[in-house]
């Protein structure tokens, strides 16, 4: 069909095609497109082994141990409907540094992007984020602190789907009776993580509350005030109700609450 009469327009179009180019550097434009369409990710070492971390505009959006980058990228796409691409910019390098420090146990504020979570999930994750290293809290306490007393089961669901484990230390949330309970990466891993942080799960299991007659106050067993109680004054309780019935009042630092 390329009869002679149309060869000129064809040649002109092809010549035109060769001459149309963006005014700015194509590599810069492509980077802009990639930055707008994908989320950066990087690997980090953690007590759970190598984890991968993806960032949203506000900070870390997802952290998970994965066998490979591909597995992590697929899980991220399933969960957030977005693609990841290798982190490039200085902003992400700064975030990666903070994440590495936090995972090594340093007290570093890591910005999180929980914009995809519901308000309830955000409140729960915010409460759990504040549980200090070396301490644990029961589900019932997290529910109460998040403004939803009695919602232990809902708190359990939020923990099971925690998008940023370790950074929001859901392994520090234990059953109401003090047993460590389940963990997204295995109940054994939860015990191991707590031991690494100086918590002895056996000491808390069955007696999550500790009181002293010298002050008349009852604490969570890992509260910093409870740690100062002399061994001969230590009174262990299986539940807050039992402690309250014995005449103790809740510590104002760790604010223990009775299960519904």
């Amino acid at each position: 069909m390329n009869e002679p009469s149309v060869e000129r327009p064809i040649a002109l179009l092809r010549e035109t095609a060769a001459r149309v180019a963006p005014a700015r550097e194509p590599a810069v434009l492509m980077d802009e497109v990639l930055a707008a369409t994908t989320d950066p990710f990087f690997a980090a070492e953690s007590p759970l082994g190598t984890v991968y971390v993806a960032a949203g505009p506000e900070g870390v959006r997802f952290l998970e141990p994965a066998a490979s980058e591909e597995e992590f990228a697929s899980r991220y796409r399933e969960r957030f409907g977005r693609f990841v691409s290798p982190a490039g910019g200085a902003e992400v390098a700064d975030l990666a540094e903070k994440v590495a420090a936090a995972l090594a146990g340093e007290r570093v504020e890591v910005p999180l992007d929980l914009s995809r979570a519901t308000p309830f999930q955000r409140r729960v994750l915010g409460v759990v984020k504040g549980i200090a290293r070396g301490e644990v809290r029961p589900y019932v306490w997290v529910a109460s602190e998040a403004g939803a007393p009695g919602a232990s089961r809902a708190v359990g669901n939020v923990m099971a789907n925690n998008p940023v484990p370790l950074l929001v230390p859901c392994h520090r949330v234990v059953r109401n009776d003090g047993r460590t309970g389940s963990y997204a990466f295995g109940a054994g891993e939860k015990v191991r993580l707590l031991r690494l942080e100086g918590v002895e799960p056996e000491e808390i299991s069955g007696s999550p509350y500790v009181a002293t007659p010298t002050t008349g106050i009852v604490c969570h067993a890992t509260c910093r005030n409870a740690k100062r109680i002399q061994p001969h004054n230590r009174r262990a309780f299986r539940s807050m109700r039992a402690a309250v019935e014995a005449g103790f009042r809740p510590c104002e630092v760790c604010r223990p609450v009775a299960a519904a």
Binding site: M1, S5, V6, R8, P9, I10, L12, L13, R14, E15, T16, A17, R19, V20, A21, P22, A23, R24, P26, L29, M30, E32, V33, L34, A36, T37, T38, F41, E69, E70, E71, F72, A73, S74, R77, F80, G81, R82, F83, V84, S85, P86
Partner: protein, 191 residues
């Protein structure tokens, strides 16, 4: 565009990049941008004829594309023929932007166009002007075939037209362009 009446894919060749996206290869999104950026830019530029507008349109097209692909089930993602699909999205974005621009007062448009017709780009603008004067279907067909160098199977994938229809539209469009050029030549001789 008649995407609804699109006939079943004539050449379902698997796209290795679609498989990489489905497998979670984190370098795949970058590879997709790199593979198509320049040709989609050229395509958007042919419609919008302004550099900044073409950049924006291509970025918008990629945002829509990744937004959709991110939510596709793995199997559907793997079966994607990405190139014609990217063209379809870019064409829709560019068309919408052109339509919006036409709603803007005429003076503003003339500013945009004079800014774009620098020296040295005149040949380009002449060719794109001529293309712009073709009826829409002919313009799309000719642009895809000779500015973008797409084979007819992919033009069919982009537009939903049977290949025969695309060929006819290209032939008619080229004939019309040829006539325009003859008229231009005659004018030039008279000067």
């Amino acid at each position: 565009m008649e995407t609804e009446t699109r006939k079943t894919d004539a050449t379902p060749e698997p796209d290795p990049l679609a498989a990489r996206l489905a497998d979670g290869d984190p370098s795949a999104p970058g590879a997709l941008v790199e593979r198509h950026y320049m040709e989609l830019y050229r395509y958007a530029y042919a419609v919008l004829r302004e550099e900044r507008a073409a950049e924006d349109a291509v970025q918008d097209a990629f945002e829509r594309a990744f937004g959709a692909l991110g939510r596709y089930p793995e199997g559907r993602l793997r079966a994607m023929r990405l190139r014609p699909w990217m063209y379809t999205i870019t064409l829709n974005v560019a068309r919408n932007r052109l339509r919006q621009r036409r709603e803007v007062p005429v003076e503003e448009i003339s500013v945009v166009e004079s800014a774009a017709s620098d020296e040295g780009r005149e040949g380009v603008m002449d060719a794109l002007d001529a293309l712009g004067r073709l009826p829409e279907r002919q313009r799309v067909a000719v642009t895809l075939r000779y500015l973008q160098d797409l084979p007819y199977a992919e033009i069919s994938g982009v537009t939903g037209w049977p290949e025969g229809t695309a060929k006819t539209l290209v032939r008619r469009g080229l004939m019309r362009l040829r006539k325009m050029m003859v008229v231009e030549d005659t004018r030039g001789d008279q000067r």
